[in-house]
């Protein structure tokens, strides 16, 4: 009886150690830290804006959880690779200035949902994503750079962004 109980203890301990071992040595070991808030310096160049925007799109913005880089079957949201050109065409089709369309897509995405997709995108200036004004402009610059021309600037585009947030996206 005692041997049986000891074997049983070994089994319980062994299985637990085995799973802990897999967790420790077979899975990647990185932590997921809350993103830091980006503060832009006035007059930051458009090239730098694009780079900062890329970092946000792949990080804090969590855009890549829905948007694939390249078009693929069954994608939930438009592909990033040509999104700048696609949005420009869409803005022209709807008769809206390109930059305005771009900012609306970020802060009030339900207003113009791209054809063939569900209305799933949250306004990214609100929690949980909570991008600040500088970060929104950086993301807009990065999106424009994907197949289009970068026109947004910091802080020049701030006034337009604030107006759109006031009008379309709440506080």
């Amino acid at each position: 009886m005692k041997t049986g109980v000891i074997k049983l203890l070994i089994v319980v301990l062994g299985i637990n150690i085995f799973f802990a071992y897999i967790g420790l040595y077979f899975l990647p070991q990185s932590e997921s830290r809350p993103p830091k808030e980006l503060k832009l310096a006035p007059g930051v160049s458009q090239d730098d804006l694009v780079l900062l925007g890329e970092e946000i799109v792949f990080g804090k913005g969590q855009c890549m959880v829905c948007h694939p880089m390249k078009p693929e079957t069954g994608m939930r949201a438009p592909a990033i690779a040509t999104i700048g050109a696609d949005m420009k065409k869409e803005a022209e089709k709807r008769g809206i200035p390109y930059e305005e369309y771009l900012f609306i897509a970020l802060v009030a995405p339900s207003k113009y949902v791209a054809e063939g997709y569900d209305d799933i995108m949250p306004p990214v200036h609100k929690p949980p994503t909570s991008l600040n004004e500088g970060e929104l402009i950086a993301v807009a610059a990065y999106l424009q750079s994907r197949g289009g021309t970068v026109t947004v600037k910091y802080p020049d585009s701030l006034e337009q962004l604030r107006e759109i947030i006031r009008r379309e996206g709440g506080s």
């Binding site: 074997k7 049983l8 299985i15 967790g23 069954g74 929690p127 949980p128």
Partner: protein
């Protein structure tokens, strides 16, 4: 456990709960006065291991015991009912044994609950204030129903023998106990639901509508998932208890009884676990409906590898149960006729396991993402839900076939249509597998919303229908069948019992890990999008750290469960000695 006067027993239970709760409130008051004030953003810090790890361990232990004491009564009362209607003493005994277990486990559940009740307001005062502001009345309802449940539970246990001539009424008591348990589960799920998929409050957390804050996206699917998982878990613990008693049994009669108890409990666990993926899917759909980003974050990204870990764990459970069933063929006269199928079932389960293990998206650096896009070019295609759902369903189908083979292995059908029935069985298996495979491949070609809302539910539906059809077919075909020989209960090698223990340990580990993932889905929020976690613990730890904590919780839980098992044996011994005197 000695039989006592019903009134005395119930009073004892209520007094115990009052003492535990009273001690908790007292300690809360004392600690609130003697400890330094919380930081400006509302935190105190637990020494050495930190507040997060402390609350994690205590909450998970409490949850494990809660799952046990909510899950076991469901099948205890079912067994009692069946024993009563079929006049089967053995079923009544197993129901009583289960009742002994959960009545004893109540005390440990309450103790862990009280530790959590003290820990949360002390370490996270601002967060708890917010929860009380939004959901406060549900907490007081929780305490009220807890008293109700303890009252009914102790009455149910202590009146077992006294009410043996009024079984119907006693079964009703058991049903009432389960109603109480379900209400408690609904209340606690509403708290978790609010934290993860909040509603009924403004963006700054001001209460607008309390009912909306209770009735969140997650509430009902989470409650359903927990309810079924509790039955699976409770049955698993009962199987572990049976295995423990089998190993320590000294007479063939005891061995036979505990072998049967282990088999029955394990089959209940696996039977109910068959519907868990479907309910889990429903839970996933609701999370996606609340916030697509959260859904995708939970299913991939940082958690991608933990889903691989989940596959390792569920795959291990399937292997343990299949192994147990294959060994069990040895105790069935005529079971040897089916040995040749075992290798094929093994291959199917193994292939399903391999596909299930394949990750889809993994955490990528910016450089890697630039190079390959969001997903791995090869594994990304195999690691999607289209193939995984298919693999899981086929693995479950193989497990059901192992079970069906075991059930019929000592019988030979005598009905005139037996030969056609056998072919019909093959047809159901082949056709349903074919449909599941076809839908799996077709899922690649449709938008994800069609896969999620249409094709995957159809796959699960086809699977459930086919096992139901197989079950009904076998029941009809083997009605009045020639029995080759009765099962030789008790004649099982000891290693079969380790497989039973393996199922329960793995399931406990799985519960710990999935609980962490569900909680981590909120990322750096106490209440997602409403109340930010600004403590130093506001990050998701590395998977290795999480695994070590889950292991620690599982070991602690089994230590406490061993104490419950030992207490039951001790009390049985005392009762035996009293009877002898």
């Amino acid at each position: 456990m000695a039989e006592k006067d019903i009134k005395k027993g119930v009073l004892k239970g209520l007094l115990k709960l009052t003492l535990i709760l009273g001690a908790g409130f007292l300690l809360l008051g004392i600690l609130g006065r003697i400890l330094p004030s919380p930081t400006e953003d509302g935190y105190r810090f637990f020494p050495v291991i930190g507040s997060r790890v402390w609350v994690w361990i205590v909450a998970q232990l409490h949850l494990n015991f809660a799952a046990f004491v909510l899950g076991v009564p469901i099948f205890a009362v079912t067994m009692e009912f069946l024993g009563w209607r079929r006049k089967d003493e053995r079923l009544d005994r197993i129901a009583y044994d289960f009742t002994k277990l959960f009545t004893l486990a109540y005390t440990l559940t309450a103790v862990m609950g009280a530790v959590l009740m003290v820990s949360l307001p002390i370490l996270y005062p601002k967060f708890i204030q917010h929860l009380m502001k939004v959901l406060g009345p549900t907490w007081w309802a929780y305490i009220l129903f807890m008293y109700g449940e303890v009252f009914v539970c102790y009455y149910y246990f202590y009146s077992w023998h006294r009410m043996k001539d009024r079984k119907g009424l006693h079964v009703l008591l058991g049903v009432l106990l389960n109603v109480m348990g379900t209400i408690l589960l609904l209340i606690t799920s509403s708290w978790v639901g609010y934290m993860t998929t909040p509603a009924g409050v403004t963006e700054t957390g001001e209460l607008v509508n309390r009912w909306q804050a209770i009735k969140t996206y997650m509430w009902i699917p989470l409650s359903l998932h927990r309810l079924v998982a509790n039955v699976v878990f409770g049955a698993g613990i009962a199987a572990a208890y049976a295995a423990f008693r089998f190993i320590t049994a000294t007479t063939p009669e005891e061995k036979a009884y505990y072998d049967w108890m282990g088999y029955t409990s394990a089959m209940i666990a696996i039977g109910f676990s068959l519907i868990l993926p479907g309910i889990g899917y429903l839970l996933g759909v609701e999370i996606y409906a609340f916030n697509e980003q959260m859904g995708i974050q939970l299913m991939g990204g940082f958690y991608a590898w933990l889903w691989v870990m989940q596959a390792i764990l569920i795959g291990a459970i399937l292997f343990f149960i299949n192994y147990y069933l294959w060994i069990s063929l040895n105790k069935m006269p005529g079971g040897e006729r089916y040995f040749r199928y075992v290798k094929f079932l093994f291959i199917v389960v193994l292939l399903g396991y391999a596909i299930w293990l394949t990750p889809h998206s993994v955490a990528l650096s910016l450089e890697e993402a630039r190079r390959i896009g969001s997903y791995h070019p090869v594994l990304g295609k195999l690691g999607v839900m289209a193939s995984k759902n298919t693999a899981v369903i086929i693995s479950y189908m193989a497990t059901f076939i192992s079970f069906a083979i075991f059930r019929m292995s000592n019988k030979e059908p005598t009905v005139s249509w037996a030969s056609m029935g056998k072919w019909l069985r093959v047809l159901i298996i082949v056709a349903s597998t074919g449909v599941v495979l076809f839908l799996g491949v077709y899922s690649y070609m449709v938008p994800s919303v069609t896969r999620v809302k249409v094709l995957s539910p159809i796959q699960f539906g086809v699977f459930l229908l086919s096992i139901l059809a197989l079950y009904i077919l076998d029941s009809r075909m083997f009605k009045g069948a020639r029995v080759i020989g009765e099962p030789r209960w008790g004649q099982m090698p000891e290693r079969s019992q380790y497989a039973l223990i393996g199922i329960t340990v793995t399931f406990t580990w799985l519960m710990g890990m999935m609980g962490y993932m569900r909680s981590g889905g909120r990322q750096y929020w106490h209440v997602y999008g409403i109340l930010k976690d600004t403590s130093p613990d506001a990050y998701l730890p590395a998977h290795g750290v999480a695994s070590v904590i889950v292991t620690l919780v599982t070991l602690l839980f089994f230590l406490m469960v061993a104490f419950v098992f030992w207490s039951v044996m001790k009390l049985e011994m005392i009762a035996e000695q009293r009877r002898a005197k």
